[in-house]
Amino acid sequence: MTLSGGLSRPGERDRPIIKFMEIDWTLCLVLALIAGAGALMLFSIAGASWEPWADKHLLRFGIYFVMMIILAMVDLRVWFTMAYPIYGIALLLLVAVELVGDVSLGAQRWLQLGPVRFQPSEIMKIGVVLALARYYHGLSADSARLSWKLLIPAGLIGVPTLLVAHQPDLGTAVLIALPGLAVMVLAGLSLRLIIAGIVAGLAALPPFIFFVLHDYQRNRILTFMDPEKDPSGNGYHIMQSKIALGSGGLLGKGFGLGSQSQLNFLPEKQTDFIFATLAEEFGFVGCVSVLFLYGVAIFMALRIASISHSHFGRLAAAGVTATFALYVLINGAMVMGMAPVVGVPMPMLSYGGTVMLTVMVGFGLVQAVRVHRYTEVTSGKGSLM
């Protein structure tokens, strides 16, 4: 920020050292703090051991952090150009997963590509945001409000969402659809259409729950409505998570002393329910501190979106932020018994490489938007070179 005032000379901002300085290091620190809190919890639930989670968690964060820095310096025009190709590749991979993917835990999500095993749906989380931002960049405000042209973004969101939902991975489908819709709204969607959409969505919910969802998905939702009904079956996760949270009290049971997580009453304690572990051991104070860090990260990312000079940059940064915020809110609500159990982890806190990679790539894009906030982005191909 301090350097930006004197950087008016053309080309000066393309110098790598300047780009490096332009990165929002405060945001980086916040992300590191969250990842550090995650490592601390992973260390605790492994019985005060770096094995098997905490060490890998930190190592991954280190690698992805470097990657985020590199991505931050990638010219926004490159991002712009690559938007559709990335989306296209992600879509192809999703189709491929549908045809040849590995079945793991009852869902077809994984794709083996040489030595790398990954979930194409994660790429799509970034891909859909990029593609929508790219599309809206060249669209007039009127068209964005209400026109037949909205069928294209609707399709950009709808196709991958349905593919992912069919895997079935409801959590990821939501994390593709909602940020996409957020981009549409931010691009200036007609209020009437928003209201109509919400009404239609609510009306479609019951038939969707009862006719489209798999049994286990439906049970999760029904159990969420009344967790005590079946405390040893589906309600077990929610109940145990609430016990972990509630028993933490104001200050928590102390580091390494959370009986719910240490004695395995808490399911998925190192991944989806790590926030409950944190809540149990560090109490209300610890939880609010971590939520505050998330809030700061979201606020800073949105601020970056708002200062971008390009429509593409604004929408892309806001879309990524929406994805990140949704991760936090959905996981938080689930852990606190306010939402059905869907496989959405707490970003940076939960153990697991894929989500951390997605989020860090996303923040790489956000940082790139900040670093290139004055960059003019045009639809033409030649302008990049």
Partner: protein, 655 residues
């Protein structure tokens, strides 16, 4: 959008505050409930001891194999795995599968009890790989004497659904559902179940979500309170000998201390091994016990009602004396007597000749008692019978007594409400009452009480079985009112009984010699008719089927000059004449009781230098002159060796 995200985060914070600040206490309790698990520790069951502290029921270690039902447990697979380690036959397997299916979640089910050490260690090593399988050491009830105390003490056994139904308001529900717990089903075990049970303890353990114990917390343990110790008045040696002498016969023996009413033995034969019931009896095993014609499961000492036969004659004698009959008024016995349109026969076909009361008791003369009964009437007999303890049940701490019947005019009225013609007492019913037949029925305990009261000579003793519970002494059987008879009358009747056993012409002389020097027995024989003899030529029963033979009874007390112990023996279908089957058994049991008594022992080992005047027998009744003073009886050699149980067949067969 920033607003939306902020609102969302605030909502999460609010929810956190609700859970962690407002409802924290509730969740902390739930969390502790998850983390800590109290495992019930069944209390050791109280011991049951005899009067000398010999254990009659105790506990021994038991290696058990248990499976705990769990949501993700496959009972079939678990049993398959276990059958590789311990033998589980198909019948057992199917029963276990049923048990497991019925058991509530997380409740352990016992797969095997009483494993050998090898089996126990084999399972214990593998247990960690077998989900839900535990091998532990519990305690199991053991009855060291097997059958001898089976009817008195009863047994413990698995808690049945019916027991649970009955024990609805029992505070120990958790204990009742514990797989190792056994509930008292019969006798003392049932009557004093709550006292013997004790209070369960618990071990506190930290467990993980799979129920595995992570850490034990001995400081949080609650120790189990053992059950109270119950001491009985029984004497193991006397009881064991009593069952032994019954051999294959069916019947009962009751021994009582005539000074305080303590029951020293109470045996019903044949018996069964109570230990088998603790383990759980197989169907065929139970069937065999239940269907055996000598009814081992029935407690014949308390619930078998028999006509007392001639053992009732001393009571009739007392009734006669009380009614003012002069014992020296003689009745001529010619073997039969014609009254009321029929001939009443004496067991002695040729007759006893002229009989006074003393002789009539000694010879068990039926004619004398037919006529005497007729003279005093049924109500006088009934009131004497009640005073001696017939027709009532005693509070001995265990259930199962059947009080029998002491008939009188009042009873006839009550019993024949629908048939007014039958409501009056017919004079023809009285003579058989006089010899202990007819509607009269008694049990072995009542016979022993009668004998003890007679021998005590003063108190209307009550029998006592439970000596103490948890160290607290139960009231003595001697804290009772006196008998409604004069000492003079009681002494007279006792004299008659002494003659039965010690007069060479007494009905049980040969079978009643204790062989303990001047310590001698007095007694009375009896036969309870099982069938009518009208159509049968001979009453001798050697050729008759067991079921049709007469019951053989004998009551006795000793030493007759200073009574201490009374015994009553009933041998079901033992044949005619109390002397043949009853008396020799009474003698054997009495010998054990006497030889265990240090004072009696001293008396046997150091006999008084001069024979005392036979005060008890012929000196007490003024003017009485029994022809056969008992001191004339040559004492048998003082030997401790048991005489042959059943003597050679006696000619004459007195009853």
């Amino acid at each position: 959008m920033g607003g939306l995200a902020g609102a969302g985060l605030l909502a999460l914070g609010g929810r956190l505050a609700q859970l962690q600040l407002i409802e924290a206490a509730r969740y902390q309790k739930l969390s502790a409930g998850n983390q800590f698990n109290y495992r019930l520790v069944p209390p050791p069951r109280g011991l049951i001891l005899d009067r000398n502290g010999v254990a009659l029921a105790s506990n021994r270690p038991n290696f058990r194999l248990m499976v705990t039902k769990d949501a993700d447990m496959d009972p079939e697979a678990t049993l398959d795995d276990l059958s590789k380690l311990v033998p589980i036959d198909p019948a057992r397997r199917s029963r276990l599968l049923k048990d497991i299916a019925r058991a509530p979640k997380k409740a352990p089910v016992a797969v095997m009890e009483d494993m050998t050490w090898e089996e126990f260690s084999r399972v214990n090593i593998r247990a960690p790989e077998l989900p839900g399988v535990t091998a532990d050491m519990g305690e199991v009830r053991v009855y060291p004497f097997g059958g001898a105390f089976a009817h008195v003490i009863g047994y413990v056994s698995k808690v049945s659904d019916r027991d649970l139904e009955k024990a609805k308001d029992d505070p120990d529900q958790e204990l009742l559902h514990h797989p190792g717990f056994r509930i008292g089903k019969q006798g003392v075990e049932k009557a004093l179940d709550r006292e013997l049970r004790g209070r369960p303890g618990a071990t506190k353990a930290e467990v993980d979500a799979q129920g595995r114990v992570v850490r034990l917390d001995p400081e949080g343990d609650i120790p189990a309170t053992p059950g109270k110790e119950v001491r009985l008045t029984l004497d193991a040696d006397i009881q064991n000998r009593a069952l032994e002498v019954m051999g294959e016969e069916s019947g009962a023996i009751v021994v009582m201390d005539v000074r305080n009413g303590d029951l020293l033995a109470m045996v019903s034969a044949p018996s069964f091994d109570a230990n088998r019931f603790v383990k759980g009896l197989s169907g065929p095993e139970y069937k065999a016990l239940a269907e055996y014609e000598r009814k081992p499961l029935l407690d014949k000492a308390l619930s078998g009602n028999f006509p007392p036969g001639s053992t009732f004659k001393p009571t009739v004698g007392l009734a006669a004396l009380t009614a003012g009959i002069d014992p020296e008024v003689r009745v001529a016995c010619g073997g039969s007597w014609y009254y009321g349109g029929r001939t009443w026969r004496c067991w002695q076909k040729n007759g006893h000749g002229s009989q006074n009361l003393h002789e009539a008791i000694k010879n068990s003369c039926d004619i004398y008692f037919y006529q005497t009964a007729l003279k005093i009437g049924p109500d006088a007999i009934a009131s004497a019978a009640r005073a001696m303890g017939f027709g009532e049940t005693f509070d001995i701490g265990i259930p199962g007594q059947r009080k029998g019947l002491v008939p009188d005019r009042e009873w006839k009225k009550r019993a024949n409400k629908k048939n007014p013609a039958n409501q009056i007492w017919f004079p023809g019913e009285t003579p058989s009452y006089g010899i202990g037949q007819g509607a009269l029925s008694v049990n072995a305990l009542q016979l022993a009480v009668m004998t003890a009261r007679l021998a005590n000579g003063k108190k209307a003793l009550n029998p006592r079985l439970i000596k103490s519970v948890g160290g607290k002494e139960e009231p003595s059987g001697a804290a009772v009112p006196d008998l409604p008879f004069t000492a003079e009358h009681l002494n007279y009747v006792r004299g008659g009984m002494a003659a039965v056993a010690n007069d060479v012409r007494g009905t049980a002389y040969r079978q009643s010699q204790l062989g303990l020097g001047d310590v001698q027995m007095a007694g009375k024989t009896g036969t309870a008719q099982v069938r009518s003899y009208d159509k049968v030529a001979s009453r001798k029963s050697d050729s008759v089927a067991w079921k049709l033979k007469d019951h053989n009874l004998f009551v006795a007390f000793a030493p007759y000059d200073d009574p201490r112990y009374a015994v009553a023996v009933i041998v079901e279908h033992g044949g005619l004449g109390g002397a043949t089957a009853g008396a020799p058994r009474a003698r054997e049991v009495m010998r054990v009781a006497l030889l265990k008594d240090p004072e009696i022992r001293a008396r046997i080992e150091h006999p008084a230098p001069l024979p005392e005047e036979p005060v008890e027998v012929d000196g007490a009744v003024e003017g009485a002159a029994p022809e056969d003073p008992v001191i004339d009886v040559p004492p048998a050699a003082p030997t401790e060796q048991a005489a042959p149980l059943v003597p050679a067949p006696t000619p004459g067969v007195p009853r």
